[in-house]
């Protein structure tokens, strides 16, 4: 029982990371209708920036929290610039596959430039959370022990989701962002600067990725250029499961994927090495039953 609870909590930690990256994907998808394959590598690059700012030996030795903040700000600007410079001109050609190629080009480019600048050796990211474990409660003599890292990660990412929700649902800016997402042309007619909103959307997504990447890296004993590879696949899975246009869906689906993965690793020995089959199989089943995902809106198609 105690093991089960611990695994579920670890799963929630990972699941929130997947959910965060999925959130970034969904924000970009909702505002621009693009599946951003470069999301993971954008986050990787920002993670390296955080590391460079925070590292005592190879960097500037900023406090880690400040480093993450600065890195998020840089990511925000960079994301907006990428939208304006690389995505928008290609998007106007009206071919979604071309945009896919651009994001794939970014994916390859960012990964290799990051490794060129920051090296290929594994690096150690300082953690913003205190060390040690917390004993949550005991059930039948066995104490449930969870590291403070995991609890901190969960707290930060939950706060991030709530802030994002407030921003989108309770502010003027959020209303504009949602208006552009639902219909750019109508939004323009209402006097909303659709282009600016698209840049903001990409900037927000990049900043979210920076936060998620930095936190994940701080949990690992070292990170390198492959940090985001599996995370991005799970994030894609979560975004698909959640329905691609639902922010809540992305987070919930991320949690489902994370928990399912953690429990499979712990309990199903037959699937050792191919645990990934469980979340992916789950998604396949859900999508076959509900093609728009768990939280996606049904679309009415006109012919």
């Amino acid at each position: 029982m105690q093991l089960f609870v611990e695994q579920v909590i670890n799963g929630i930690g990972n699941g929130l990371v997947y959910g965060s990256v999925a959130l970034a994907l969904v924000i970009i998808f909702r505002t621009t209708g693009i599946l951003n394959f470069a999301q993971g590598e954008m986050a990787l690059f920002s993670t390296y920036i955080t590391w460079k700012l925070a590292s005592e030996s190879d960097g500037f030795g900023l406090p880690i929290v400040a480093a993450i903040g600065v890195s998020m700000a840089i990511a925000f600007v960079a994301g907006a610039v990428i939208e304006r410079v690389l995505i928008r001109p290609v998007e106007q050609a009206r071919s979604p596959l071309n945009v896919v190629i651009v994001t794939l080009g970014l994916f390859l480019g960012l990964n290799s430039v990051a490794q060129l600048i920051f090296g290929t050796d594994p690096q150690l990211m300082p953690s913003p959370f205190p060390e040690g474990n917390v004993e949550l409660f005991s059930s039948g003599g066995d104490a449930v022990v969870v590291s403070k890292d995991t609890i901190g990660l969960i707290a930060v990412l939950v706060a991030e989701c709530i802030l994002l929700w407030l921003l989108l649902q309770r502010t003027n800016l959020g209303l504009k962002l949602r208006a552009v997402a639902s219909n750019p042309d109508s939004a323009r007619l209402q006097g909303i600067r659709a282009g600016t909103m698209l840049m903001l959307g990409w900037g927000m997504a990049a900043a979210i990725g920076a936060l998620a990447g930095s936190l994940v890296a701080s949990q690992r004993t070292g990170f390198d250029g492959s940090l985001m590879q599996i995370i991005i696949v799970y994030a894609f899975a979560a975004a698909a499961l959640g329905g691609f246009d639902s922010l809540i869906g992305a987070v919930v689906a991320g949690l489902i994927v994370g928990i399912a993965d953690a429990l499979t690793v712990q309990y199903v020995d037959a699937l050792e090495g191919i645990e990934v089959i469980v979340p992916l199989g789950l998604i396949l089943v859900v999508l076959v039953i509900l093609p728009n995902g768990l939280f996606g809106r049904r679309t009415v198609e006109r012919v």
């Binding site: 909702r30 209708g33 794939l104 080009g105 990964n111 060129l116 590879q229 698909a240 999508l287």
Partner: protein
């Protein structure tokens, strides 16, 4: 729903589920039915024959001119173009985006490698088996595609590409206990005296590629091709005019996967290895196929081949562009991809076709003739391969 009647466009084949047999009749003047495909102007015909003969001569002479190493690279481009063609049938013509073709490629590669290493088959005999097996896997994946569409489908196929190397490393055991099979070199020996091994391998790839490209060309010009394009452009409308949606989708998936499987099988001959130790190798393969298809020109016949050769050439030249900074090669490669999409949004073949159409119009005034549509007679509105893309926004 009437036949598009602009005489200036490059090709005037109906795209939107307008089966010409039914749609052409009301549009034509009573009593005379316009030919389904207007005859090509004579200069175009001659130009095509000349280019075709020249290309054949080059293709036949090339392996004797190049070094074995270069022959190997050209053969790689050939199998890559087969896989890209397979993806093109599915994504370019039928509008079903797949990022999972690397998995079908892997099924083909491992089928061949296992049959050769464990069961002592000769290489050539394994190719049909690889095609059938990967086709079957493709068919299985095609069924969810009946429900799941657009980006969701892309994700399902992405999952396939991620899963494949893991499954392979769990269930395939090669030398040293890892999922890596290397058939012996001698088993790929040339079957014809006077041809070196590399030349033989090149010709095997060339013949299979030509056969599969001609097959694809015939397919997309026929009833099946019209059904595929109709499904891509407007699924619901396609079903109302009698297109068998399930059959078209599942059939295209199976065929497309079989192409990728053949490519995988050939890759064992060229690269002498079937490898599943790198967890993202087959995802990278999927991306390669997609890139080759898009930069060559989606929904064209020559596009995948042009794209594949361009891709191999680019990769080769970006690899040692900067001495000592090999790690930058993917960055240059990625930048080149972005540049190509900027300059030629319709791919190389689409761009050339547009250029020729413009030249043709200038030389012949605005005569109601179709422009010289290079070598591929396929609908021109290939700009929206992701058919149902705008759902959910």
């Amino acid at each position: 729903m009437s036949m598009p009647s602009d005489g200036t466009g490059a090709t005037v084949e109906p795209a939107l589920g307008t089966l010409p047999e039914t749609a052409a009749a009301p549009a034509a003047a009573p009593g005379e039915r316009p030919p389904l495909r207007p005859p090509l102007p004579r200069p175009v015909l001659i130009a095509r024959v000349v280019i075709g003969v020249a290309l054949s001569v080059v293709a036949l002479y090339a392996p004797f001119y190049f070094t074995p190493e270069n022959n190997r690279i050209i053969s790689q481009a050939l199998y890559l173009s087969i896989a890209a063609m397979g993806l093109n049938l599915l994504t370019g013509f039928t509008g079903q985006v797949s990022i999972g073709h690397g998995a079908f490629f892997g099924v083909g590669a491992f089928t061949t490698a296992i049959l050769m290493v464990d069961h002592g088959w000769t290489f050539e005999a394994t190719i049909p088996v690889a095609a059938v097996l990967s086709g079957l896997v493709g068919m299985l994946v095609g069924f969810p595609a009946l429900r799941v569409r657009g980006l969701q489908l892309a994700l399902v196929t992405l999952a396939l590409a991620v899963l494949f190397p893991r499954l392979a490393s769990k269930y395939v055991e090669g030398a040293g206990g890892v999922a890596l099979l290397r058939p012996r070199r001698s088993e790929f020996a040339s079957l014809i005296d006077g041809l070196d091994d590399d030349q033989w391998a090149y010709f095997v790839c060339l013949v299979i590629a030509v056969v599969l490209f001609v097959l694809a060309w015939n397919l997309v010009r026929g009833r099946m091709g019209r059904a595929m394009v109709a499904v891509r452009d407007q699924e619901i409308a396609a079903t109302t005019v009698g297109v068998n949606l399930a059959g078209t989708k599942v059939g295209t998936f199976a065929l497309s996967a079989a192409y990728a499987g053949v490519a995988g099988s050939l890759s064992v001959m060229i690269d002498r290895i079937a490898d599943a130790t790198n967890p993202i190798l087959y995802l990278q393969r999927s991306i390669e196929f997609l890139v080759a298809m898009v930069i060559g020109g989606a929904a064209t016949i020559l596009g995948p081949a042009v794209g594949a050769f361009l891709l191999v050439w680019l990769r080769r030249n970006t690899e040692d562009l900067i001495e000592g900074k090999e790690i930058l090669a993917p960055a240059i490669f990625g930048a080149a991809l972005i540049a190509i999409v900027y300059v030629l949004p319709e791919g190389v073949v689409g761009g050339v076709r547009r250029l020729l159409a413009r030249l043709g119009r200038r030389s012949s005034g605005s005569a109601a003739r179709p422009g010289p549509a290079s070598a591929s007679d396929v609908p021109d509105d290939s700009n929206n391969p992701g058919g149902s893309h705008d759902e959910g926004t």
